[in-house]
């Protein structure tokens, strides 16, 4: 199944590991992500200021490319879709699509300007949805080679579990904002009490740790201009995850990953030893599905997750 795929800017630069692990796990599950032949930045939430149609050109172009890529591989009309991994790209594309759907005049105006005939039918999907709805958690669980285990709890026999919850890796799913909200336009999962990442974590054989800050904002791109704000927010998020016993935090957005990871970096003040590594869900999947270590992309993190997963690659 070839699914048109829009990586976005960040996944091509700072978050290459998200892109790589995402493509690898998709391939392992038989989902072929076909990168759009031509694409540019989605606009990163700015297209959503609806009083300026100029900004909407970027996402519309992407949707057009997805339509074209779909047609080229024999999927058109209702089958037309585009997959994304970055939560911000996902939010922009999903909501732009919704906007174009309810405002045909806007679509016409943009098509006129770009001289491209976007018909307005592409379905925007996040990989998480594809996993939940097209692959299914049970099918995913069957493909798991190692339920991720923390080092000291490893038993013999291929890293399998020794029964009971106590032996599993405790993974705290962190959703952030843009993956879920606004609910009316995104509709991926319950905006106040989501479970999609929890279900993924459990399908991978780990323990999903719920904690109250899992839908609180990380500060997003304030990290560029006013980094103290994301640092404060992220401190609370990580503290809450730790308070609930998390060993790893898992997320679906490169900015969230950065905002939770970077403030925990090594500074002159040294480290407390209580840092929690922050992974993309695709990285956790790559480990659990037994994919080669170069697909995991764990080298780039500020809090090094490698000690937690050391030795798992050997059991592939």
């Amino acid at each position: 199944m070839g699914i048109p795929y829009f990586p976005g800017c960040t996944l091509s630069t700072k978050a290459k590991n998200y892109d790589r692990s995402g493509r690898a796990v998709a391939a392992a599950l038989g989902l072929e992500l076909v990168e759009l032949a031509e694409w540019q930045c989605c606009g990163a939430t700015f297209p959503l200021m609806v009083d300026d149609s100029m900004a909407l050109i970027a996402p519309t172009r992407i949707l057009y490319q997805a339509q074209a890529t779909g047609e080229a591989s024999g999927h058109a009309g209702a089958d037309a879709r585009v997959a994304t991994l970055c939560a911000i790209c996902f939010n922009v594309l999903r909501r732009s699509q919704a906007l174009l759907k309810r405002d045909p005049q806007m679509l016409e105006r943009i098509n006129w300007f770009t001289e491209q005939e976007y018909r307005g039918e592409v379905q925007v999907s996040h990989l998480l949805e594809i996993l939940r709805d097209d692959v299914g958690w049970e099918a995913l669980a069957e493909r798991v080679v190692h339920p991720p285990l923390p080092p000291r709890r490893r038993g013999g026999e291929g890293g399998g579990l020794r029964g009971g919850e106590g032996g599993r890796l405790r993974v705290a799913p962190y959703y952030g904002c843009l993956l879920l909200r606004p609910y009316e336009e995104i509709g991926l999962d319950d905006p106040e009490d989501p479970t999609i990442l929890h279900d993924l974590v459990r399908a991978l054989g780990a323990e999903a740790v719920s904690f109250p800050y899992n839908i609180e904002c990380c500060g997003s791109y304030l990290t560029i201009k006013e980094p103290e704000i994301p640092e404060t927010l992220s401190r609370d998020i990580v503290a809450s995850a730790r308070e609930h016993g998390a060993q790893v935090i898992v997320t679906a957005c490169p900015l969230c990953q950065f905002n939770l990871d970077y403030p925990q970096r090594e500074t002159e003040a040294g480290r407390t030893g209580n840092e929690i590594p922050v992974l993309y869900f695709t990285q956790l999947m790559a480990i659990a599905l037994g994919l080669p270590e170069e697909d995991w992309g764990l080298e780039e993190h500020y809090v090094d997750p490698r000690p937690l997963f050391a030795g798992m690659a050997k059991n592939t």
Binding site: P212, E243, H244
Partner: protein
């Protein structure tokens, strides 16, 4: 007509109505579904605005009810059917005609009334033999949550709801008892020296004819779905799921000198004294989008009361009250709230709360090294101060939620049984809100108390006496007519 009144519900409204009628020389059947009388007022610590001890002003009435020669008290009982009796001399048949209406111009009042069937659930304890000594409870192996203490304390399967209960009888709760036969347990019957425990009791249905009915079934607090992550819009402030987040009645039990902690305000989770307490008004009320649209009327007052009483017990504690408005319309009420705000060093914050959640999980997590965080064990309250425009975050030790008042369970069924009406929330509707507030649309059936809508104790007592007066008017007019016919 039978000059006997049926009063359904024995909270303060039912008791007051029953006493007024009984003291006028008429018989009253007082039906109560719980094992003892007094309603929610018996659970309160002190009442506003006087801060009188609630039990101290209530128990003289409960005792009077329990001992009154004209009151037949049926506890653990419920009304299961009500049939209007045909009015003799009208030829109107047995439909829901006008039983016992007072005289209209020229027309004599007609007789009538109701035939009621009352189901008496077995107590398994014999009235007249039980001395409330408590030997049975000492040997009962079952320990469950005590409803009277709103889950803050335990009781046995055989229990008395509280020491001042009327009737002063124990009661065996078969839903939690191990079994009513010696192979299962039988310890309580063995321990009972007066042999007051009878496992062979069964339910009993009795039938009575009464001339008038007063419905005084009262209220309950809205039990929100209580998902700990939900925002206030879902009317769940973690208060079903965390012991340190509670509603007003539970806090009353903490405050009560005869309550599970002897009046010490402590956190149920770790028994420590809370130093930062947050009160949230309008929780579930005044929320047309996601809760109940109406105002529950008493919360501003009882929250101020709670603030005052807490500060009396924990003088170095800090109180925060999140409010939208302050509704204090009764006699001395505004002054009472002002006292809480000014004299007791409370912080009133005008704004709503969006999230209440425990910072730490209830069960200690399996964890490695953990950085001490001074929010450990606290309940986080996120709200806003609309007068300054600032967001507010409070790490509270205890959170008390002023939950909405809703009609007691079963009010719709009761209304259907009696042929009276309820509004969309289940509160009874009188025949005319302004002019006949205690009369139902069905002649002979009257209404009193919080089953009509949220209200405080003085109003409730007044209404109860009002409803009683209506009943007495009915009876006296009918009796006068009867006597005139005889002559």
């Amino acid at each position: 007509m039978n000059y006997r009144a049926l009063v359904i519900g024995s909270g303060i409204s039912g008791m007051q109505a029953a006493l007024d009628i009984a003291n006028s020389g008429f018989e009253v059947i007082l039906v109560e579904k719980e094992p003892s009388i007094g309603g929610h007022m018996a659970q309160l610590s002190e009442t506003f605005p006087t801060l009188d001890c609630s039990q101290c002003i209530l128990t003289p009435r409960t005792v009077e009810v329990g001992q009154h020669p004209n009151i037949r008290l049926l506890t653990l009982s419920e009304v299961v059917s009500v049939t209007p009796l045909s009015a003799p001399g009208t030829g109107a048949g047995s439909g829901p005609s006008a039983p016992g209406t007072p005289a209209e111009a020229g027309r004599p009042p007609v007789g009538g009334g109701f035939r009621v069937r009352i189901l008496r659930h077995p107590r398994y304890v014999v009235e007249g033999k039980c001395t409330a000594c408590g030997d049975c409870a000492k040997v009962c192996p079952v320990v469950v949550s005590n409803e009277f203490d709103r889950g803050l304390a335990a009781r046995r399967a055989i229990y008395i709801p509280h020491p001042q209960a009327v009737p002063a009888l124990y009661r065996l709760d078969t839903t939690t008892c191990l079994g009513l036969f010696p192979l299962a347990c039988g310890k309580c019957a063995e321990a009972c020296q007066p042999h007051a425990i009878d496992y062979d009791m069964g339910p009993e249905t009795i039938e009575e004819e009464v001339g008038a009915i007063i419905v005084a079934t009262g209220y309950e607090l809205y039990q929100a779905d209580g998902h700990s992550e939900r925002s206030e819009e879902s009317a769940g402030y973690a208060y079903m799921s965390h012991p340190d987040v509670m509603d007003g009645l539970e806090f009353e039990r903490l405050l009560s000198a005869s309550g599970p902690t002897g009046g010490q305000v402590i956190r149920p989770s770790d028994r420590r004294v809370p130093k930062e307490v947050v009160f949230i008004q309008c929780a579930g009320s005044r929320n047309p989008e996601h809760g109940l649209p109406y105002c529950s009327k008493i919360c501003c007052m009882y929250t101020a009361k709670h603030a005052i009483l807490y500060k009396h017990r924990v003088p170095d504690g800090q109180v925060y009250v999140f409010y939208m408005d302050i509704r204090a319309g009764g006699k001395g009420y505004e002054e009472f709230v002002t006292r809480a705000m000014e004299e007791d060093d409370t912080v009133y914050i005008r704004g709503r709360v969006s999230k209440v959640f425990p910072f730490s999980p209830l069960a200690a997590p399996v964890s490695g090294a953990s950085l001490p965080d001074d929010r450990h064990g606290k309940i986080m309250v996120w709200g806003v101060d609309t007068l300054t425009g600032n967001k507010v975050e409070i790490a509270a030790d205890l959170v008390v939620v002023a939950a909405a008042m809703v009609p007691a369970e079963g009010s719709r069924r009761m209304a259907e049984m009696l042929g009276i009406s309820v509004d969309e929330f289940g509160f009874y509707t009188p025949t005319n809100t302004e002019m006949s507030p205690v009369e139902s649309p069905v002649p002979g059936v009257f209404l009193a108390g919080a089953g009509l809508g949220p209200q405080d104790i003085p109003e409730t007592v007044a209404q109860a006496s009002g409803a009683a007066a209506k009943v007495l008017a009915l009876f006296l007019a009918a009796r006068a007519e009867e006597m005139a016919e005889v002559e």
